[in-house]
Amino acid sequence: MKKFSILLLFTFLFLGCEDFLDVNESLDNDERTTPNYMLPSVVSGMAYSHYAQGETAAYFTQYITTEFGGNAIRDRWDYRNVLRVGLWRRNYFDVAGNANKMIEFAKEEDSKNYIGVGKIMMAFSFLTTTNFFGDMPIKEAFTGIYNPTYDTQDVVYAEVETWLKEGLEALEQSNELTDREMGTTEDHLFGGDLEKWKSFANAILARLKLHTADFQSSYDEVLEYVDAAHVGWQEPLFAYPSDADSDWHRNLWGPSRPSPQWDFAEIRNLLNSSVHTDFFMNAMTLSGEHDPRLYQLTTPGENENYLSVPASQGIGALEIEDFAILYDGYWTRDDSPIVFITDEELYFIEAEAAFHNNDNERAYQAYIAGISSNFERLGIAQGLNDYLSSSAVAQSSGDLGIADIMMQKYMALYLQPETWTDMRRYKYADNVYLELQYPENVLDIYEGEWIQRIPYDPQTEYIYNPNEIERLGARDDRWILTPLWWAANSNL
C-alpha cells in the first residue's frame, strides 16, 4: 500500500514537461506559404471588389435605377441605416491585405516578380478604394494599430504612385532563373507575362494622373503613361469559366446572382429588379433609333421595348415587360469578364488628356479608337462605320467637344466604376453629361446636392475608430456630399 501511495504522490508532483502544453498551433491552417499560393486570392479578390464598386456606382452614375424606386442606397442615397459598407474591407482585408502578405513571403525568398505584381495590385486596390471613400489610412495600414490615422487623399495618391513605381522597378529586376515561377495557374490575368503587368501598371498611373491633371497641370505625364501602357498592352481581363461549378467562379453581375460570401448583404446584384434610366437611354438613342450596342449590353424584354425612367422614380404604372432585361448582356452574364482597365478607357484617357492639352488631333484619333474598340468588344464591328458617320459622333477634331469624349466614355464604360470618378471630376455638369438630371427621390436633407463619396464601413470604422471619424466629421448625414480632394480641386 505504501508503494501505491508513493506512486500517487509521484504523479501528483510530476507536472509534466512543457511539451505537454505545446498544442496551440493550428492543426488545419499554416501561418506561412509561398507567394504563388497567395496571388489567386489577390487577383480574384480585386475582381470581386471591382464588381462591388461597379454595382455601387452604377446607380449613382444613372446607368440603371431600381424598378420600384425608394431603395435606400440606390435611389435615396440613404446610408443612415446601413449595417455594412463592404467596399472598405474588400480593399484592406480581401485584396491589399493578402497582397501585403504575399509581398512579405516574396521578399523572404526574393521573388521580384511576385513583389512587383503584389505592389501593383495593392496600388490598384487602394486607388479604386480611395475614390469611393476619400481619406483613408495607408501609412498605418497593416501595422497592427487598431485606431489608425486616416491619411488625406493626396497622401494616398502619392503612396499609390510610389507603390506603382516600386512595382515597376521590381518587375524590371525580376530574374526568371531565381524568381519563383509564375504561370497561368497563379496569374489569372496575364499568365505571368511581366511585360503585360508593366503596361497595366502604366495604365493605372495614367488613370491616377488624369484625376489630378487639371489642377496639377500634368496632362503630358498622363500621355506619357498612356504611351508606356500601349507598349505590349493587353487588357487586364479576369475571365470567368463558362462551366462554373461554384458561386466563387461566377461573375457577380450574372443572372444567378452569386453570393459566395454570405456575410455581405450588398454583394448580390439587383439587376433582376433594375431598369435603365432616361439619361442612359437618351445617350443610347439617336432620333428614335437605338445605339446597336444597347442590344449587346442587354437582353430584349418580353415586349422587346426599351423603355426607361428617370433615376430613382421607379417604373410606376409602366409594365416591366416593356423594359430590357439587364442580364446576359456583354458584362452581365455568369461568365462575363471583369476588366480592371479596358482598352476603351485607355483611349478615352488619351482623348481627354490630349483634348485638355490642346492636341485636338490626337484627342480625336483616340476618341474614334475608343468608340471603335467598344464596337469591336461587343462584336458589332460591321455597324461601326454607320455609327461613326452618324451625328452621335463628332465628325472632325474641330467638332470635338469634351461632352463628346465623356459621353462616349460613359457609354463605353457601361457599369464600370471609373465612370463615377469621371462624373465627379466634372461635377455632374449637364453640359458634359448631357441632360443628366438630379434624382427626384433622394433625401431632402441633401438639398439638391450630388453624392460625392460613400461613408466608411459603419460596422467597423464608426465603432472601432470613432475618434478619427469624429475628426473627419464623417458622422454627419451630409458627409457623403463632401467632394473628394481631386473633385474639390478640379476646375473642369
Binding site: E31, T185, S246, I463, Y464, N465
Partner: protein, 1005 residues
C-alpha cells in the same frame, strides 16, 4: 483495462472478507418524535465506505466487527455514532436536527460537505424536484427553482437549446455558461449551429442531485472552466440489498403556447391595391365573401411524447450496481420535428479493499433531433406569420404529389417562389444525431481515519452528425437543392487526484485540508461540407452535389492545475478557509501560461455559542463571507494569424479573418460574497440572503477590429464587466401534521451589470448573432448594462419631447444609442410542496420583472403590414404627440394631422428602434405536479414496493404585459448567443414555448 481492475478488485475484496472478524448487525431505526420507522437512513461503518440504508420498515443489516463504529445519518436528523462492541442488534431512535444543518452538500470536485461549514451559496436540487419539472432538458428543469440563475430556451421545438447563466454574464463575448460536471467529470454543453445544448443528452431520471455552485468561491477549485460557476451533477447509485426494479412511463401531450397577434382585416398588396404575388399586407380589406384561412394556428399540430425509464439496482455489501435504461420520443408542435434520446447507464461500486472503493460509470447515449429551426439567427416562423390568408397553407401539394406554388412570379423564375412552411418542414429538414459515451472511474482509498486519496479519471466523447438538406425546388439559391453537413468529434479527458485530510486537532479545532492535481485535455474536430445543386433531384448525398466546399477545424487544449484547500472549524462557530490554484494552459503564450488565483472565506455561527430564550425562536444563524478569484484562459489557437483556404479561381490561401495576438494573458474574475442564513423555530421558517459583487478584468475578448489592420477580428485582453446582485431564499414548513405538510419556498434574484471598460476607442460591443433589425440590435454599450439594446429613437428636445417636422411627421435621430436592458431586474420563483395523505402536490410559479424585450418580430410584422395594431390604426388620421421647432430652440405643440398609412409606419414609426423595445414582466404557472401514491397494502399484494401515478401540467398560464407572444425569448441561444451578452430578450419569429400535460406511472418491485 477498467474491467480487469474491477475483477481484480472483486477478488481482493472477497479474500479480505473471510479474514475480518465480522458479524452481521441488524436493527431498526425510528424517529424519536413519533416512533415511526425511518426509511433510507444511511448506516455506515465509520472510516470506511461500507454501508447500507434502512428499508421501508426502518430495518437494516450489515456486517461489522467489534471495533467498528456505526454511523447513522439521515437528512434532517442528528447523526448518531454507536460503537458495535459485542452487540448484534442496534436499534436507534434518531432525533430531529432542529436546524437541519447536518445536510450534506456536494461541492467542488464532488466533495461532500456539511452545509454548516459552507461559506458560500450553494443550492441543491433533488431528484424528485427534477423529475417533477417534467422537462427533458435538465437545464430547463432548473428554471424557477434556483436563485441566481437565468435560463432561457431558444424555442418550444423539441431538442431546442437552452442557455443558462449564473449571477449574470461576466464576459463581453466569451461563453458565459457554467461548467457541467457529472460525477467529477466535466462534460461538454456545447451547442453547435443551433443544435441542442449537449448537457441535454443527460437523462434527468439518472440524476440523484444537482448542486449549483454559483460564485467564483464555490468554483475556485474547478479552475478556469468554472469561472462562470458550475453545475455539479451526481448520478444515482445502487444500494445494498435485494434486487430492486423500477419502471417509469409517461406520455405528454403538448400544444402551441402564446403566439404574436396578427391583423386579419387586410389582404396582400400595396397602397390599398390587391396584389396576389406578394407577402406584403398593405392591400385592401378582405371582403366578407373572401375565403380566408387561419394559417398561423393551423400550422401547428398537437405534439405527443412518450418516455420509458427502467432501472435495476441492488448489490451485496461489497458491491452495488445501478443500471438504468431510458427511451424518449418527443414529437413537436411543428410538423416533422422530433427529438429522441436513448440511454443506458451502468454504475457499480465495489469495495475492493476494506478501505478502498472503486466506482465505475458508463453512460451510453444516442440522440436524434429533427428540426426546422434556422441556426443561430432564428426567424423560421417569419413565413408562417406572413403567409397570405387567402391561400390555404395546408394545401401543400398538387394531387399528383408535386409541390404547389403559391404564385408564379413575373420573371417566370420558380426559384423566386417562396416555400410553403409546411413544405419546408418536410423537405428542408435539419437533423442532428449524437452518439455519446461518458465513462468514469473513481478510486477512493482511506489511508486511515483522517487521510484519504481520491482519484478520478473520465472521458466524455461524442460523435455528432448534423445534416441540413434543402430539397430540389427550395427557394433561392437552393432551388436545385443544397446540403450543409458537419461531423463533430468531441473529447474531454479529465484526470484528478486529491488528497484529503480531515482531522480533529483538539476538541475545539477541526481541520480539513485538501491538495490535488488536475489534468484536462480537450479535443474537438469539426468537418464541414456544404454545397448546392443536385445532379439527380432526389438523392440527398454530397456525392450528388455539383458545387461542394469542405473545411475542417480542430481545437486542442490542455490545462494542468494544482490546487489546495484548507478549512479550519473552531468550536463549530467559526469557520475559516482558504484555497489556491495554479493553472498552466496551452492556449496562452509561454510567458503567460502559468497563473495563480486564491480564495478566502469565513463563516461565523453565533447560535453555536450563545444560549438563551431567543434561541427558541432563532435556532440558527450564520454569517458568511468570501473573496475569490478565478482565472480564465483564451480560446485555442488565437496567438498567430493563419492562412485559410481560398475558394475562388486559382484557389490557394488567403488571410484568415482572425489576427493573432502573441501577448495574451489570462482573464481574472474577482468576486466578493456575503450572506446570512437564519432559521427560526427549529426550521419552520428559513431565510437566506446573499449579496455578491463580481468583476472581470483583462477580458479575453475577440472584437472586430478595423480591417485596416489586415484582419477582421482579433483576440485581445481588454474590457471589464461588473455584476452585483442579491439572492434571497425563503422557505417554511407549515401546518405540519401526521397527514399534512405544506412547504412553500420563495427564491428571488436580481442582478445588475455594467460594462465598465472596453477595448481601444470602442464604446459599443455588438453581439455577433441575432442582429435582425438595423434600428435596434443586441449590443453592449460602455457604461451601461451588458445585456443592452442599442438603436435609434425619435429626435427629442432636451425635455424629451418628440420633435415633429412641419408636415406632422416625427423626425428620426439615426444616431444609435443605448436604449434598453434585456436583463430582468428581478426573478421570482414560488414553489409549493404539499403533502396530504397519499397525495403530493407541487406548484411552481415563476416570473421575471423589468426586462426590456427587443421585439423585432413586431417591427417585421409592422413593416409587412401584418401587425395586429394596424386593424385599429391603419389609415386613421392622427396628430403625433410632439413639438415642432419654429425657430432654433423654440418649440410649439404639433397640431398637424397625418395619415397613418404605410409610409408613416415604414418610413417613420419603424425607423425608431425605441418603438420595439418593451419593458415587460411575466408570471408563469410553470408547473403543477400531482402524485398519488397507491396504498402499500394494495401494491404489496402484487409484489410491488412502491407505485404511484402522476399528472403534470406545464406552462398552463402566462400573465404578461408583453404585446407579442411569449416574452421569454432567446433568438440565437447558446449556439451563438451565450457568447457575451447573447440574444436573451431578442424576439424574432421563434417557435413559441409549449403547453403540455403529462401522465405518468411509476412502479417499483
Amino acid at each position: 483495462m477498467k474491467k480487469l481492475l474491477l475483477i481484480a478488485g472483486l477478488i481482493i475484496a472477497l479474500s479480505y472478507q473471510s479474514l475480518a472478524q465480522e458479524r452481521t448487525i441488524t436493527g431498526t431505526v425510528r424517529d424519536q418524535m413519533d416512533e415511526m420507522a425511518l426509511t433510507g437512513v444511511t448506516v455506515r461503518v465509520k472510516g470506511t465506505t461500507r454501508g447500507t440504508t434502512t428499508d421501508i420498515d426502518g430495518q437494516y443489516s450489515l456486517r461489522a466487527s467489534s471495533e467498528d463504529v456505526l454511523v447513522f445519518s439521515f437528512i434532517g436528523m442528528v447523526t448518531e455514532e454507536i460503537p458495535v462492541g459485542d452487540k448484534t442488534v442496534i436499534d436507534v431512535d434518531m432525533v430531529a436536527d432542529v436546524a437541519t444543518l447536518e445536510q450534506v452538500v456536494v461541492t467542488s470536485l464532488g466533495i461532500k460537505r456539511e452545509e454548516r461549514t459552507l461559506t458560500y451559496n450553494v443550492q441543491s436540487i433533488s431528484s424528485e424536484e427534477l423529475i417533477s419539472s417534467s422537462q427533458e432538458n435538465l437545464v430547463n428543469a432548473l428554471q424557477g427553482r434556483v436563485s441566481g440563475v437565468q435560463i432561457t430556451s431558444t424555442s418550444g421545438a423539441p431538442g431546442a437549446a437552452s442557455e443558462i447563466i449564473l449571477r449574470g454574464a461576466t464576459s463581453v463575448d466569451g461563453d458565459n455558461q457554467p461548467l457541467f460536471v457529472i460525477d467529477g467529470i466535466p462534460i461538454s454543453n456545447a451547442s453547435t449551429r443551433g443544435t441542442t445544448n449537449r448537457a441535454a443528452d443527460i437523462n434527468p431520471n439518472d440524476i440523484a442531485s444537482i448542486s449549483i455552485l454559483k460564485g467564483a468561491a464555490a468554483a475556485a477549485l474547478y479552475g478556469i472552466d468554472a469561472a462562470n460557476g458550475a453545475v455539479i451533477i451526481t448520478t444515482k447509485r445502487g444500494e445494498e440489498g435485494a434486487i430492486s426494479v423500477g419502471l417509469n412511463t409517461s406520455t405528454t401531450v403538448s400544444q402551441v403556447g402564446k403566439l404574436h397577434d396578427v391583423q386579419t382585416a387586410y389582404t396582400t398588396g400595396a397602397a390599398g391595391l390587391y396584389n396576389p404575388r406578394t407577402f406584403s399586407h398593405w392591400g385592401p380589406e378582405f371582403r366578407r365573401s373572401d375565403n380566408v384561412h387561419d394559417n398561423l394556428n393551423n400550422f401547428f399540430q398537437t405534439g405527443i411524447s412518450t418516455k420509458l425509464d427502467a432501472n435495476v439496482s441492488g448489490g451485496s455489501e461489497n458491491m452495488t450496481y445501478y443500471l438504468a435504461i431510458s427511451d424518449l420520443n418527443d414529437e413537436g408542435i411543428v410538423p416533422n420535428t422530433d427529438y429522441t434520446r436513448r440511454s443506458a447507464m451502468l454504475t457499480s461500486t465495489a469495495n475492493i479493499l476494506p478501505n478502498m472503493t472503486l466506482t465505475t460509470t458508463a453512460n451510453v447515449i444516442k440522440t436524434g433531433n429533427n428540426y426546422g429551426i434556422v441556426p443561430e439567427s432564428g426567424g423560421w416562423m417569419a413565413n408562417v406569420y406572413r403567409w397570405p390568408r387567402w391561400d390555404d397553407m395546408q394545401d401543400v401539394y398538387h394531387p399528383d404529389g408535386s409541390a404547389r406554388n403559391i404564385w408564379i412570379p413575373v420573371s417566370g423564375n420558380l426559384a423566386d417562389v417562396p416555400d410553403n412552411p409546411l413544405w419546408v418542414a418536410n423537405h428542408n429538414v435539419r437533423s442532428d444525431n449524437v452518439d455519446r459515451t461518458l465513462t468514469s472511474a473513481n478510486l477512493r482509498y482511506d489511508i486511515n481515519n483522517w487521510l484519504s486519496i481520491d482519484y478520478t479519471a473520465g472521458r466524455d466523447f461524442f460523435m455528432q452528425h448534423y445534416k441540413a438538406v434543402r430539397e430540389w425546388g427550395s427557394t433561392g439559391n437552393a432551388y436545385e437543392g443544397a446540403i450543409s453537413e458537419f461531423n463533430r468529434e468531441s473529447e474531454k479527458i479529465t484526470s484528478t487526484l486529491i488528497f484529503t485530510a480531515d482531522t480533529k486537532v483538539s476538541d475545539d479545532l477541526t481541520i480539513t485540508a485538501l491538495a490535488g492535481k488536475n489534468i484536462q485535455m480537450d479535443y474537438a474536430k469539426n468537418t464541414f461540407v456544404e454545397g448546392e445543386r443536385f445532379r439527380n433531384p432526389t438523392l440527398h448525398s454530397i456525392n450528388n452535389l455539383q458545387e461542394v466546399r469542405t473545411s475542417q477545424s480542430t481545437a486542442k487544449r490542455r490545462v494542468v492545475g494544482v490546487f489546495g484547500d484548507i478549512t479550519l472549524d473552531y468550536r463549530r462557530f467559526l469557520v475559516l478557509g482558504a484555497t489556491g490554484r495554479n493553472d498552466w494552459s496551452s492556449t496562452l503564450p509561454l510567458d503567460n501560461r502559468s497563473f495563480f488565483y486564491p480564495s478566502f472565506n469565513f463563516g461565523f455561527i453565533p447560535t453555536e455559542i450563545t444560549e438563551g430564550p431567543f434561541t427558541d425562536i432563532l435556532t440558527f444563524a450564520k454569517l458568511r463571507a468570501s473573496y475569490a478569484q478565478v482565472g480564465k484562459d483564451a480560446p485555442p489557437h488565437r496567438l498567430t494569424q493563419t492562412l485559410t483556404q481560398f475558394y475562388g479561381l486559382g484557389e490557394g490561401w488567403r488571410n484568415d479573418p482572425f489576427a493573432g495576438n502573441p501577448i495574451l494573458k489570462p482573464e481574472i474574475t474577482t468576486e466578493f460574497e456575503v450572506g446570512i442564513d437564519l432559521r427560526f423555530w427549529k426550521g419552520l421558517l428559513n431565510f437566506d440572503v446573499t449579496y455578491y459583487e463580481r468583476k472581470s478584468e483583462d477580458q479575453i475578448i475577440t472584437p472586430r477590429v478595423t480591417p485596416v489592420t489586415g484582419a477582421i477580428l482579433q483576440t485581445v485582453n481588454s474590457g471589464s464587466v461588473e455584476n452585483k446582485g442579491l439572492e434571497v431564499l425563503l422557505s417554511a414548513r407549515l401546518l405540519e401534521s401526521e397527514n399534512f405538510l405544506w412547504e412553500p419556498s420563495i427564491n428571488a434574484f436580481g442582478n445588475r451589470s455594467e460594462l465598465s471598460e472596453l477595448f481601444g476607442d470602442l464604446v459599443e460591443f455588438p453581439v455577433t448573432y441575432g442582429q435582425v433589425s438595423s434600428q435596434a440590435i443586441a449590443s453592449s454599450w460602455l457604461g451601461e448594462p451588458l445585456f443592452g439594446i442599442v438603436g435609434t429613437d425619435y429626435a427629442r428636445t432636451p425635455e424629451g419631447e418628440v420633435i415633429v417636422d412641419s408636415e406632422g411627421y416625427p423626425i428620426i435621430d439615426s444616431e444609435k444609442r443605448y436604449i434598453g436592458n434585456r436583463e430582468p431586474k428581478a426573478y421570482l420563483g414560488f414553489n409549493n410542496n404539499i403533502r396530504y395523505r397519499n397525495f403530493e402536490l407541487s406548484v411552481l410559479v415563476d416570473g421575471a420583472f423589468g426586462a426590456e424585450v427587443m421585439n423585432a418580430t413586431s417591427q417585421f410584422l409592422l413593416t409587412n403590414g401584418s401587425h395586429a395594431m394596424l386593424e385599429e390604426y391603419r389609415n386613421r388620421e392622427f396628430v403625433f404627440d410632439g413639438v415642432v421647432e419654429v425657430e432654433e430652440g423654440v418649440y410649439e405643440t404639433n397640431t398637424q394631422p397625418i395619415a397613418l398609412d404605410r409610409d408613416f409606419f415604414v418610413n417613420y414609426y419603424a425607423l425608431a428602434g425605441t418603438n420595439f423595445v418593451e419593458e415587460i414582466y411575466y408570471v408563469r404557472l410553470r408547473n403543477i405536479n400531482l402524485i398519488y401514491h397507491l396504498p402499500s397494502e394494495w401494491i404489496a399484494r402484487v409484489g410491488m414496493t412502491r407505485a404511484s401515478v402522476n399528472l403534470n401540467l406545464q406552462n398552463m398560464h402566462l400573465w404578461t404585459n408583453y404585446s407579442g407572444g411569449d416574452p421569454e425569448v432567446n433568438n440565437a441561444g447558446p449556439g451563438g448567443g451565450a457568447s457575451g451578452a447573447g440574444t436573451m430578450g431578442v424576439d424574432y419569429f421563434q417557435v413559441p414555448h409549449r403547453q403540455a400535460i403529462t401522465l405518468g406511472i411509476n412502479v417499483n418491485f
